[in-house]
């Protein structure tokens, strides 16, 4: 489990041993448990994200997932797949790499800075829309966390499909804070509800950007954190229902969240009127987001914001 750090300076050329294509690195995008991701340019001049690592099996499983989801028609689940190959480094060692669509976006926490409560719900709804598709295709996302989410053209996009697992199998990759097993709230079997729990924790994180540990009474910890966050107040009930296993699929959770947003629009309209000019630009952004999310209830939410 020794981690290799790939410090390729900008302008490094990576040529595949099998397909012979060359990619030139532009900059490092990030590093994770199983590899380093670079922004790169192909010979044709297109920009992509290139991931190079050591564990060729694990990398290949990721490639298989990317390929699968490039095929799911209509909806985009994860970055699209471009190329897979091995790179022989200057000292003669072979490293697996793959190339995918570059998702040019802002990390979720950064994007959310200074935004209103409604965003929490809107994001959850967007995420749930994608999850619904993924679940229908027979998979769960597994390692759902804010690091694996980017906001790109007002749309939440997930990167890193390393944790995607066929429904019914065991979850292999997870991050404790988002894992219902860690909180004693269920198994690590790949079920739709596994992802729904992670969505509630992403919501919790919006109230507690630094996250928190489970302590000696995990459920009590969750409850008290939920109760003392004003950002999460509108969503308290639905989050609790999810923890208690009362919400079974993404569609139901999405519907419940939409109801909350609509109710808020009814009771808060006068307040919103007053803040209107100040918040106008943000609301427009929010509206675009809602539209692109394809929320069924989008129209009513829209009418509230405009």
């Amino acid at each position: 489990m020794k981690k290799q750090v790939f410090d390729l300076s900008p302008g490094s050329r990576i040529t595949g041993k099998w397909n012979g294509r060359t990619y030139t690195t532009i900059k490092k995008l990030g590093a994770g448990a199983c590899g380093t991701v670079f922004l790169c340019r192909s010979e044709q001049g297109d920009t992509y994200a290139l991931k190079v690592g050591e564990d060729s099996s694990r990398m290949m499983l990721e490639v298989n997932m990317l390929k699968k989801f490039s095929k799911v028609q209509g909806v985009k689940l994860g970055p699209s797949f471009v190329d897979v190959d091995d790179w022989i480094n200057p000292s003669g060692r072979s490293f697996p790499f793959y190339v995918m669509e570059y998702v040019d976006g802002t990390p979720l926490p950064e994007f959310l800075k200074g935004k209103t409560k409604d965003w929490v719900g809107i994001f959850a709804i967007q995420l749930l829309t994608d999850l619904e598709n993924l679940h229908h295709a027979g998979y769960v996302f597994g390692d759902l966390k804010t690091e694996n989410l980017l906001i790109s053209s007002s749309r939440v996009r997930w990167i890193d499909v390393g944790g995607v697992t066929a429904i019914g199998r065991a979850i292999k990759e997870y991050t404790e804070f988002y894992d219902r097993g860690y909180w004693n709230l269920g198994s690590r079997k790949a079920e739709a509800t596994y992802d729904l729990f992670a969505v509630t924790m992403i919501m919790m994180e919006m109230g507690y950007p630094k996250r928190f540990d489970k302590g000696s009474h995990p459920y009590k910890t969750l409850e008290s954190k939920l109760a003392s966050s004003s950002v999460l107040k509108p969503y308290r009930r639905i989050i609790q229902q999810c923890w208690k296993g009362k919400i079974q699929n993404a569609a139901d959770m999405k519907r419940a969240l939409s109801d909350i947003l609509m109710k808020r629009s009814g009771t808060n309209s006068s307040r919103v009127q007053k803040r209107r000019s100040a918040k106008e630009s943000e609301n427009r952004e929010l509206a675009t987001l809602t539209l692109t999310a394809g929320v069924v209830f989008g129209v009513s939410v829209l009418s509230f914001f405009l």
Partner: protein, 245 residues
Amino acid sequence: MKPGRIKQILLLTDGCSNHGEDPVVVAALARNQGITVNVIGVLDDRQNGKPQGLEEVESIAEAGGGVSQIVYQKSLSQTVQMVTRQAMTQTIQGVVNKELQEILGKNQTIEELPPEQRGEVVEVVDELGESSDLEVLVLVDTSASMHHKLPTVKEALFDLSLSLNARSGSNQFSVYAFPDPKKTITKMVDWTPELGEIHGIFSKLNSGGYTPTGPALKEAVYAFAGKPLMERMRNEEDPYEETGF
């Protein structure tokens, strides 16, 4: 290929052995018996810098064909399941590589296949990781310096059971502690499919000032050998059948 039975010893310790035979030698012996040895070195959360003696952790796992990791208490749960998983994959890959060599000759391994075929083979490996039967004997160092870490160890074992039981393959766990003045190791939990209810475990411990990792490991190998024999007799299988796939 039908899923087989994978056998592992998981050693949790925080220091170097100082008594009896060399654990590295015993680990190699275990490996010969078809048992993989994984080792996790558990650091104190307050400890900073690498303490002495933990180099052994890596050598034991290497000789035992397994995986090693040195971690702080707070990441013990996640590490225990990751190490176990990784070692499983490693074992399966070893078997698959052997088959590849039989079919393709040369020194063909998964890594050297062209991407297309590699993509297919890793799916097979993944599927076997999901469906293989697994036996894990957990061997816990309960010497004095480990005492305050035992609650964390207990939690990590519960978590391990949670992770592995999400698979479709069956699991068997047992837990042993060492040192024990009379028998070198003490059985804490007999073979069980779940490590859910292990209250009271590690409650009555007697530890001297020595850490006989080698002898303990050897006893663990014996304890392992005894188990499938009995189980197979019950199942009326040939007790001398080769283990593995």
